[in-house]
Every structure is written in C-alpha cells, then in structure tokens.
C-alpha cells in the first residue's frame, strides 16, 4: 500500500536570506509544480508544515520560509547540504493557460509574494505570453521587503509598484496600503484583465473589493488562501471552510468561489 504520508528527502543547495526572518531555501528537486501549489515540508521529530513553492526550475525548487513556529524555527537552523523532507506538491495552482494573451495584474502583500513569484518570473522569462503585467507589492516596512533583487529585475520589463505601510528615514519610495494605489492603476480593458491577489486575509479582502470597483469581473480575480493543514490530502479537516477543502480545491481560488467561503 502506498504510504501517502511518506515524504522524500531533498537536499538544501543554498540558502538566500531575504530578511532577518525570511530565508529562501533552494532544494535539489525535479518536481515541476503548478504556480501556487505547496509542499508539506518536515524535519523528523520536529514537525511538518505546509509551505508554498516560491519558484522552481527542473533542477531545484525554492521555498521562502518565515520563521514563525517550531518547524520553521528549526528549518532556519539548517545549512546547505542538510536535508528537508518533502511531500507534494498539493492543491490547485493558478490556471496560467487561461491567462495567455491577457493583461495581468498581480497584487501581493508580504509573504504573499512567495506563491506568485514563480508566475512573475515565468512572465519575466517569456513576456510575450501575456499582453501586459502590472505588479503591486506591499510590505510592512522597508526591512520586510522580500526578493529585492528580483523586484529590481522585474522593473526592467514591467510596471512594478512597491509600497510599504510605514517607511523609515531612508525610504524614498511609496508608502501606504496597496489598496490606496488601485484606483489610479492603469486598467485599459477590465474584461480582458486577470487579477491575482495574495496576502494576509484582510489585505486580500479589501484589495479584491478595490479591483471589483475598477470593473474587473469577479471571474477574472484569483486569490490564494492560507490555512492550517496537517495532511494536505483532504483527511485531517483543518483547512476546511464550509464545504471546501483548501488543500484540495485551493489554495488558489477564483473570486466567484472564494467569496462564498464564509468563515
């Protein structure tokens, strides 16, 4: 009988610190996930945690992990050459095939940038796949900014709006919540525009509402949910919202569905 809970060993090739508490771990792996899928990542005797895949190639995958609990604390102690244990990928990712030749807006708050980073890099490699890409990223403060180098690269090709909730004395960029910038965003044809929103629950809620105000049809908006998960395969019940298992039907949802996920 296949043991569906059995993870496999994956070697850490490199570790790229993003902030004091967010590190990107590059693991040797040939998994080719969908954008937005996640893995169950574990250290034996410490525990397992669901982590979204922040990027991948056919040789490695990247996990950007914030130090927020027992498991992630322990992962942060690891060094290149150490092993993590992974199972997955799980869940449904973003249906990028449907986004082809459209205008795409990606709005990400904080660690919410991780699950959509691979999509941005996909378009960065192959900008012709879509008509246009608009990126809005918000962080709490300048020291919380993730993927700074990559954001710089994206700016060369796309409209990137980087904002922080609260700046400091050195910060000369935008300040304020993402929602502040949506009313002035250039959206030429709302029906032909796909919006991806990922971030903390409140940020997602209000960001979606702003895009709806701009005339984006509900069916064009995509979000990704974070929930407690133990199994990731529809058994443990933790991630269930009403009739929906986030691990099975999500974590990526179309807005027409996500708005019904009452909790």
């Amino acid at each position: 009988m296949t043991n569906v809970y059995m993870p496999r060993k994956a070697e850490i090739v490199s570790i790229i610190p993003q902030t004091d508490i967010d590190y990107t771990f590059r693991l040797k792996s040939d998994i080719l996930p969908q954008h937005g899928q996640f893995l169950q990542v574990s250290i034996p005797k410490i525990g397992e945690a669901p982590i979204s895949i922040s990027d991948y190639t056919d040789e490695y995958i990247e996990l950007t992990i914030r130090k927020v609990g027992t498991v992630t604390d322990a992962i942060h102690e690891l060094k290149p050459g150490d092993f993590l244990f992974i199972r997955g990928p799980y869940g449904h990712g973003f249906p990028v095939e449907d986004f082809k030749n459209k205008n795409v807006v990606i709005a990400a708050g904080g660690t919410g940038l991780a699950p959509v980073k691979s999509i941005i890099n996909r378009y960065n490699r192959n900008p012709k796949e879509i008509k246009n890409l608009n990126i809005l990223v918000g962080f709490k403060s300048p020291k919380d900014i993730l993927f700074e180098d990559e954001i710089k690269k994206w700016k060369e090709k796309f409209d990137v709006l980087l904002t922080v909730d609260n700046g400091d004395e050195t910060w000369t960029g935008n300040t304020g919540l993402i929602t502040k910038f949506i009313p002035d965003l250039k959206i030429e044809n709302p029906d032909d525009t796909i919006v991806i929103v990922v971030g903390p629950p409140m940020m997602m809620k209000f960001t979606c509402l702003e895009f709806l105000k701009r005339g984006i049809p509900e069916k064009n908006i995509w979000v990704s949910f974070e929930r407690k998960m133990s199994c990731s395969i529809g058994k443990c019940g933790h991630c269930k919202i009403n009739e929906t298992y986030v691990c099975l039907e999500g974590p990526v949802f179309n807005y027409t569905k996500s708005k019904q996920l009452l909790d």
Partner: protein
C-alpha cells in the same frame, strides 16, 4: 434462516474466532466514569458474552477501533522514516446499525475524499467484519431513523440478543464454521421509529440561501452557551479530524515519532495558522461549522448525511446543548428563510 445459540455456544464461537480476530464490543468499565462510582461504557476487546454491555449506549463510539485516538505514522531513527507494523489478526466489531453506518461515513473521508486513500485507515478498515447488534428500541436521544442510519444490511453476522437467548444470521459464509446451533426462522429487525424525530434541512435550500443560514442569529446563542470542550466531537462516531505531532523521545532524542491524534473543530487551536491568526474564534461559529458539516456540506459532497443520529453529542454535552435542537432550528430557519 438463523441459528439459535445459548451463552455457552456463543462463547465457544468467540473462542474459535479469537484465534483469527480481535473482537470488539461495547463493554462496561467499572468505576471508570468521569464521576466517582460511575462506570464507563465504551468499546473494548471481549472474550465472552458477559463482557458485552447492551443496556446502555456507549459513551465513545467504535470509531477508535479503526481510527485510534493516537496513531503512530512513522518511527524516526536519525533520518529514517519507518512505518509501524500492525498485527495480522482481523477485526470483528459488535455494533448497532447506526455505528456500523458510521464506518461508511468515515470511509468517505479517509478513502474517497481527495486523490488518495489514507493507507493507515485502510489497513485497519480492510480487516473489519461487521457483527451487527439488532437494535429495535434505541435509547432516549437516538434519531437514527431521521438520518437514515437505522438499517445496516451489509453485515457479516447479525445478532439478536434477547436476554440470554441469542439468535444470529450468518451472512458471510466465512463465519459459518464458528456458529452451530438449532436452525430457526429469523428475520433481522431494525428500529422504525425513534422517540425523537428530526426533520433534516433540504440541502439545496441551504445552498440557495447559504449566507442567510451562515449569518443567522441562531448561532449566536452558542457563542454564549458552548464551552468549546470538544466532547461532542470526541464522542461522535463520524468526526474524523486529526492533527500531526512530531516528538522525540526524552531518553533518546535522536529517535522519535510522527503521529496523528484526533483533533476537534470545537477546541481552541484547530485553525491556528503560522503567525498567530486563527479563524472561527466565536464558539457559535464553531458550532455552525460542525453542525453544517454533519447535516449539509458532507451530504453535498458525498450524497449522504454525515450524522448517523446516535445522539451521543447530546448525551455528553456538559452544557446541555442539544445538537438535535440545533438541527431543528436550522431546518426551521431554512424553511422560513425560503418562504420570505
């Protein structure tokens, strides 16, 4: 046709069967009730007729026979993952039709939900033989007829316990060798009417009025009354949620295990995500989540009501909250809401 047995021949059958099977039934554990000088009726291994407790509903359901409260998934030695062995004996469970049906409800979650079968569940579940106990009267909080769980025909052996007179119908020939006695006419009977009748809500109507039902004021009462202790979910034969735990052994930190342990959507911590956020903080919201699973969304997913109507949740609630009453309130609300 049935076979009539006396206690001696029944015990003899158990003896024969125990060579190949572990045999479970409701048992009375003297003095093990929560309150002093009370007993605990629960499922346990038996070896004779006198071990079986039929006069009282068991506080806990037989789900723990196939889905233990704590189940080790892996043993760790250094970086090795080792799956625990299980013994090769089969499992016989004496249970009433409601509880037998509850196994089918668990099957939906563990074997049919999502793309994979849960191997830990399956390896125990595959061993199960249903020895169904005839139940024609039920107990005062039973409502199995309302939930459609009063019958279970897919039994291996069916038993009527009439004081010390035992009649059985051996449907699975595999067990014929164990039971010998006088052949008699025997038609298994099932309860046709409980003291309590509950009208379940129409799930299509809920679907059409989802926000109305979810935001209904009926749930507010339970924010005040419920204490989020989880007794209802622990005693429920169909609740199946669990959490994973990794531990290392204190005396040998290099070794440890990963296990899964029952979890309850009513208890704090169930929805905690990294960074401190949690959902359904109000107890009324948890109650809604649980009740809707039992009577609405599970049915939408699998086509059958999750709740089997055993009434254990009503029996064990220390705050005297009645699930049955909540179901009636939901049905009323749905019916009234639709007419608006």
């Amino acid at each position: 046709m049935g076979i009539e047995l006396d206690v001696k021949s029944f015990d003899n059958a158990l003896k024969i069967l125990s060579k190949k099977y572990k045999i479970f039934a409701p048992v009375r554990l003297k003095g093990k009730g929560s309150f002093s000088d009370t007993d605990l009726v629960t499922y346990g291994e038996i070896s004779s007729y006198k071990d079986i407790e039929l006069s009282e509903k068991s506080r806990y359901s037989p789900k723990e026979v196939i889905y233990p409260i704590t189940q080790t998934l892996f043993y760790f030695t250094e970086d090795e993952y080792k799956e625990p062995e299980i013994d090769d004996k089969g499992i016989i469970v004496f249970l009433r039709p409601c509880d037998a049906n509850s196994y089918l409800k668990l099957d939906n979650i563990f074997l049919k939900n999502g793309p994979y079968e849960d191997n830990y569940y399956k390896r125990l579940r595959d061993k199960v033989k249903f020895f169904v106990i005839e139940c024609t009267k039920g107990f005062s909080t039973c409502f199995c007829v309302s939930t459609g769980s009063n019958k279970f025909l897919d039994y291996d052996v069916f038993f009527r316990f009439d004081n010390d007179k035992i009649t059985c119908d051996v449907k699975n020939d595999e067990f014929s060798y164990a039971f010998s006695g006088k052949e008699v006419e025997f038609t298994p009977e099932f309860i046709e009417k409980n003291e309590i009748e509950v009208k379940l809500p129409d799930i299509d109507k809920i679907s059409q009025n989802l926000e109305y039902v979810f935001n209904h004021e009926l749930w507010d009462e339970y924010t005040k009354r419920c204490i989020a202790c989880g007794r209802c979910t622990v005693s429920c034969p169909t609740c199946s949620c669990f959490s994973m735990q990794d531990i290392f052994y204190k005396d040998n930190p290099k070794c440890g295990e990963r296990r899964r342990v029952w979890a309850s959507c009513m208890v704090d911590g169930f929805t905690d995500v990294a960074g401190g956020h949690s959902y359904r903080q109000k107890y009324g919201e948890r109650m809604r989540f649980k009740v809707m699973h039992k009577i609405y969304d599970y049915k939408k997913r699998f086509g059958t009501t999750m709740c089997v109507g055993c009434g254990r949740c009503d029996d064990v609630c220390p705050e005297y909250i009645s699930f049955i009453k909540i179901v009636s309130k939901v049905t009323d609300a749905v019916d009234r809401g639709e007419s608006k």
